[in-house]
Amino acid sequence: MALYVLALTDTPLSAWTVGAHRLESLQHDGVHVVFERRAASPAVTDTELREQHALVLAIAARTRAILPARFGSLIEKRQLTALLRRHEADVRAALEQVRDRVQMTVRVTGSAAPSPSAPVVSGALSGRDYLERARLKSSPPLPRQAQRVLSAVQPYVVSERREPGAGRLLGTIYHLVDDSQLADYRKAVGKRVPGVIVSGPWPPFAFSPQLW
């Protein structure tokens, strides 16, 4: 049977059971891979997704540094070992970055703030103008109330990743926050702000490396 990978961590973990799932781990050069033996990937359903999320939370509760795997990460042991050998430095650096830290997620919905006008150019666009237009198109300015929330929490953010949204979702901002700063981060968020949805703490899904 192949290994259904749930997370990478730097903590040795003995096999244990969570509900109907038997979790095991294998070690490669100090990186511990937590997995379940499976013949196939689970189907993409609400139930399976929630179950996997619960398993990741169970693993996170036992370790200080966790890099959760994407849903459907079924892999043969030999492939996994080769992958870890090839990306050892990236994995170690990522584990170091997330140790004793959690992810907070900020989603901004609504209508985009008026965009600063892109340079008006007659004729062919220069490379610089083209890139500027592309930047404005892919990440339009966020509404003022969202910008206020982001500024307020900034002192407590160790690292940030932004993803552009689509439609009413204007963008998602992922923050990596020290465990010790979480209370201050939440305090800085303050009261509920229309169009700004803050959730967490979560395992640092958005700060996990791509290894393939």
């Binding site: 990978v5 997370a7 990478l8 990937s41 993409v44 609400d46 997704l49 929630r50 996997q52 999320h53 890099l67 959760p68 795997a69 994407r70 849903f71 459907g72 990460s73 079924l74 892999i75 492939q79 996994l80 992958l83 997620t105 989603r107 919905t109 609504g110 109330q145 689509a166 439609g167 009413r168 979702l169 998602t172 992922y174 509920r192 229309p194 169009g195 949805i197 959730s199 967490g200 979560w202 395992p203 899904f205 958005a206 996990s208 490396p209 791509q210 290894l211 393939w212």
Partner: protein, 56 residues
Amino acid sequence: MDDSEKSLVDVLDSLLNQGVVLNADVILALANVDLVYLRLSALLCAADRVLPRKTA
């Protein structure tokens, strides 16, 4: 948006869009989950309508 729906949005986003990618097969396998993302988008839009709007 209640806590359970908010949590579902994060579960969908985290597991389908984030996390360590170990092989390209995962990307391909998840390429047909548009329906899941449609649901995520619908949930977010619902949240936007339900949350109180800023008064002028």
